[in-house]
Amino acid sequence: MKKYVIKRIIISVITVFVLTTVVFFLVRLMPGGPFTNPKMTPEVQKAMEAYYGLDKPLPVQYLTYMNNLLHGDFGYSMTHANQSVNSIMFRAFPFSADVGIRALVFAFSIGIVLGIIAALNRGKKLDFVCVLIAIIGTSVPDFIIGGVLQYFFGIKWGLLPIAQYKGFRYTILPMLALAFATLASVSRIMRSSMLEVINQDYIKTAKAKGLNDVEVVAKHEIRNAIMPIVTIMGPLVASVLTGTFVIESIFAIPGMGKYYVESISSLDYTMVLGMTVFFGVLLVIANTITDIAYGMIDPRIRVR
């Protein structure tokens, strides 16, 4: 088991390393890059050169870059005067985390419940409804859902606010938009997992012992069916994270996603750089945790 965990961690460290290196080189290739941008004032340009050590040979630049990264220093934003990328990220992060975590919790819990309900009522109306929701969620892109929610709940029926973040009510629509696709995936997987488990021999054994239906479902079926869900947590966190790019833009929430999209269109390369690395590392960590968690939950893998 320990070997497994260590192997996973090593691979993820290498991945982060590769990622940051790739980012380093790509930035040097960007057109109208941070080092030649006519928009910048001479002072800023000087500061940039000093910061990045542009007059020094490439390997030294690379080391400076890596060194800065390890200290969590991402430099200064090019479009927001005098603000460090870090400070902007710190300010924006809580908003994203708030809506994002709510969305994840919502998606997983409701998704699992829907999946169980669908499996237990296979072939009947409830199953059909749950499957329909799942199909819609996996086919309709999140920005479409966001737009539709905005239109119906916000504009047409005036039930919920659709822009900015001024309180709990403002988080409802964005959270739903963000969660929908994930919810659909989770419920789909939970349903097929449950159906597989229900047909297993050990469920018959449980019944032969005299357990009632509720006990069989709760103690035997759900317990085994939930394992595949753990394996997809990584990719799902990833999709929620990338979802924030569009959802925050649509709903004008001042989170990291919105800043990221803005910095792309305004060619604020330092911001793009810093946030890309940040997101990248976050996703790698999520994937690694998922891999490790799966190893821990399935007792068959644990012993090895």
């Binding site: 057109p31 309709v140 920005f143 479409i144 737009g147 504009i155 890309t276 996703l283 790698v284 690694t288």
Partner: protein
């Protein structure tokens, strides 16, 4: 059939075994592909989805050719109009006909979706297949590489590449395939590894069949079904990627149209002319839905073990 209670004369005459009826084969045997096609036809949902996609493709090809409007033609007098006989889908904020823009966009989105998915599948299959089949050091190296690359969030890389090489259809496709081949590579390699150890492959080798023939005649046909299914299910993902990237300003550049661009413009005009977003949303959603359903049906049809309801 009623039980005869009246005894017949030769009732107790021994006739022995009557095995002929038992042994007759009840169904005509079909080839793999014939069987798959038959099963797809039976699956109404999948079949209908296939027709829908074909229909969209036809519209994408012919509407811009036959439409009286040009997709970039602006008309300041007639902005954000609703449905009318002249403009079937209405107009957008710059007075451009939405119907023709929608199907121009379809051309772009569908092309990118299909091409990117197909290229990913081809590259991934080649690398994964050869790596899995020959094994050895090359395989180990490629697997380590894939393991590391797999952890890198593909969207992030695509975004960065797009920033570097600029916008446009070909840039988008290149950016998408740089990391997109990894998924199918892993999968095909896994399948090849599994099949490679099956007895019929060993038998072929013992008979002296050359490697290339083994790959072409024995391995590929068996993996083909799965590859095609995965390919079909990967297309909606590619369409989504294009839409997503265009939406955040990185994909296709205006005045070109793609569904992502149209969605972005639609959101901007949500208060004034909601039908713009709703139409685009409908087109994207139904396309992705149809592809997903067709892909599911294809998977069921191509799996030789799943006989379903007969």
């Amino acid at each position: 059939m009623e039980q005869q209670t009246v005894a017949l004369e030769n009732d107790f005459e021994v006739v022995g075994r009557q095995l002929e009826e038992m042994e007759s084969i009840s169904r005509p045997s079909l080839s793999y592909w014939q069987d798959a096609w038959r099963r797809i036809k039976k699956n109404k949902v999948a079949f209908f989805s296939m027709l829908l996609i074909a229909f969209y493709i036809l519209l994408a090809i012919f509407v811009p050719i036959f439409s009286p409007w040009n997709f970039a033609e602006q008309n300041a007098d007639d902005m954000n109009a609703g449905f009318s006989a002249a403009h079937w889908f209405g107009t957008d904020s710059l007075g451009r006909d939405l119907f023709v823009r929608a199907w121009m966009g379809a051309r772009v989105s569908l092309t990118i979706g299909f091409l990117a998915a197909i290229l990913n599948a081809v590259i991934g299959t080649c690398i994964g297949g050869l790596s899995g089949y020959y094994g050895g050091k090359i395989d180990m190296f490629i697997m380590r590489l894939v393991d590391v690359l797999y952890g890198i969030p593909p969207l992030i890389v695509t975004i960065l590449v797009m920033i570097v090489i600029g916008r446009g259809i070909s840039s988008l496709i290149i950016a998408m395939i740089i990391v997109g081949w990894i998924g199918s590579c892993r999968f095909v390699r896994g399948e090849v590894l599994r099949l490679k150890n099956q007895d019929y492959i060993l038998a072929a080798k013992l008979l002296g069949v050359p490697d290339l023939v083994i790959i072409l005649k024995h391995l590929i046909p068996n993996v083909m079904g799965l590859i095609i299914t995965n390919l079909t299910l990967a297309i909606p993902g590619a369409i989504f990627q294009e839409a997503f990237l265009s939406f955040i300003g990185l994909g296709i550049a205006p005045p070109d149209a793609s569904w992502g661009i149209l969605a972005k413009e639609g959101i901007k005009m949500l208060r004034i002319a909601p039908q713009q977003l709703l139409i685009t949303g409908f087109l994207i959603s139904t396309t992705m839905l149809a592809l997903n359903l067709f892909g599911d049906g294809l998977r069921d049809a191509l799996d030789p073990r799943y006989r379903g309801t007969e």
